[in-house]
Symmetry: C2
Subunit: 248 residues, 2 copies
C-alpha cells in the first residue's frame, strides 16, 4: 500500500486500451469504503467513458490532451441531492442548504477520490487529477447534467500509462509537518525548505522558458495568477450558491 503511494506520479499520456469493467468496479468498490461524515455518503461519482461526452469534458478542462486519451473520466461531486430526496420521502426536513454542508460533502467526495486514485494505481493504471474541475464547475454541471445540491469538486482521468515519468519532487517532510503546534516560517526556514526544489534542472528550464528571475514568479505571473484566481473564485462561489448551498 505505502509502496503504491511512494511510487505515485501523475500520468499525462495514455494508451487507448479500455479498462475492463470488472477492474473498474473493484476500484469504485474500494472508493466507497473511504470515511464519510456520519456515514451520510453525501457525494457522487460520475463515470464517463462516452467519447462525445469526453470531448466536451476535454474542452471544459482547458483542452488537456490526457482527458481524451484516457478511457475513463470520473467527476467527484459534493452531493446532497440524493440525501435530501431521501429525507423528504421519509418525512424529514433537510437543513443542508448551507456552506458547511457543501464543505462536508466536498470532504466526502475528496476522500473517495483519493481511494479511487490509489486503487487504480494499485491495479497498474495511471491517474491524473484535473484541478480545472472547480474552475469550470458551471460547464461541467451542464455537460454531466448535475441537478441542484450537486457541485463537482474534483475530476480524475484513469487509463493505462503511455509514459513513465520520474517521481515529482516534494518539499522535505519537515517543510510541511509541524510538531505539536504550528511554527511559522522564518526567511531561513523558507530558504532551506525550497532549496532543493529551486536547484532542480526543471526549475532552471522553467525560468528560461518563462523568462523569469525566480520560480515563485512563474507561479504568480504565469501558472496561477491573481487575475485567474479571482475570476474563477467568483465563478465557483456563484456555482455553490446556484446549486443551493448558500442559504444560511
Amino acid at each position: 500500500m505505502i509502496e503504491t503511494m511512494l511510487k505515485h506520479r501523475s500520468i499525462r499520456k495514455y494508451k487507448n486500451t479500455p479498462i475492463e469493467e470488472g477492474m473498474l468496479n473493484q476500484i469504485l468498490d474500494a472508493g466507497i469504503r473511504a470515511s464519510t461524515t456520519g456515514n451520510m455518503q453525501v457525494y457522487s461519482m460520475v463515470v464517463t467513458k462516452d467519447e462525445i461526452l469526453r470531448k466536451q469534458l476535454l474542452e471544459a478542462h482547458f483542452n488537456q490532451d490526457m482527458v481524451i486519451q484516457a478511457p475513463v473520466h470520473i467527476t467527484f461531486c459534493a452531493d446532497f441531492n440524493r440525501f435530501n430526496r431521501w429525507c423528504r420521502y421519509r418525512k424529514a426536513e433537510p437543513g443542508y442548504d448551507n456552506f458547511l454542508s457543501f464543505f462536508t460533502a466536498s470532504i466526502d467526495a475528496l476522500l473517495v477520490a483519493q481511494n479511487v486514485a490509489l486503487a487504480a494505481e494499485d491495479k497498474g493504471l495511471g491517474i491524473c487529477y484535473l484541478g480545472t474541475a472547480t474552475y469550470m464547475a458551471d460547464r461541467i454541471i451542464e455537460i454531466l447534467n448535475l441537478p441542484g445540491d450537486v457541485v463537482p469538486v474534483a475530476a480524475l482521468v484513469i487509463g493505462y500509462p503511455d509514459e513513465a515519468p520520474e517521481l515529482t519532487d516534494r518539499l522535505p517532510l519537515e517543510g510541511v509537518v509541524h510538531r505539536e503546534t504550528y511554527h511559522d516560517y522564518s526567511k531561513d526556514d523558507i530558504d532551506r525548505i525550497y532549496a532543493e526544489k529551486e536547484a532542480l534542472p526543471l526549475t532552471a528550464e522553467l525560468l528560461e522558458e518563462n523568462q523569469k528571475q525566480t520560480l515563485a514568479q512563474v507561479f504568480t505571473g504565469n501558472r496561477y495568477t491573481k487575475k485567474d484566481n479571482v475570476h474563477f473564485s467568483k465563478q465557483f462561489l456563484k456555482v455553490i450558491e446556484q446549486q443551493g448551498f448558500m442559504n444560511q
Copy 2:
C-alpha cells in the same frame, strides 16, 4: 492496498500504546506523495502528541473520548502561508487571498489526509476522522497557533485499536455511481438504494433510542440539524474570511 481499503473501519477506542516515531514518519512520508495542485503543496499537517494540547483539542472536538485516547492527533490544514512567504522572499506577489485558493489548498490537504489514513491502517493502526475540525476551526486555530492563510479542514486521530468493530454499511455502488452523466433519483430509486440501510438492526435501535419514525428524521432532527449547520456555516465562513481567503 485495495484489501486495506475494503477493511476500513473508523476506530473510536484506542490503547495508550504510543506510535513508534519511525513508523509515524513512514506514514507522513506516504502522505506527502499524494497529488497536489501544480505541485504547490499548499497544505500543512500539525502532528500533536502532547497531552495538554490534546486535552484542549478534546474539548474543541466536542469531547469525543478517542481524541484523548489516541496518542497521535493530526490536523490537516489548507495552507498558503508558506507558499505566500516563499513568493514574497522571491520577488513575486502572491494572488492567493481568495476562495478558489482556499478550496485548492483544501483539496491538497484532504488528499494527503486520506493517504495518511490509509498508510496508518496499512501499518495495523486505527484511525478516525473528526468532522468537528471545520465546526470548531476558530478554536483549533487558537490551540495550534495557526497563522493567517491557514485553515484547518480535517483532523485524524491515530493509534492502536482497542476495539474491532464490524464493517460499516454503505449504500450499494449503483447508489453513488452515475454512468456517463448524472441520472437523478426517482422515489423508487431512493427506496431501493436505502432499503438495506433502513432494514439494519442498527437503524431499528436508532429509531427506538431517538423516538423517531424514520432514520432520515434522526439525521435532520438529532445528528445534523439545520440550526447547528447554519451556526457552524457562519462560523466557518467567518474563519475563512479572517484567515485571508475572501479578498477577491
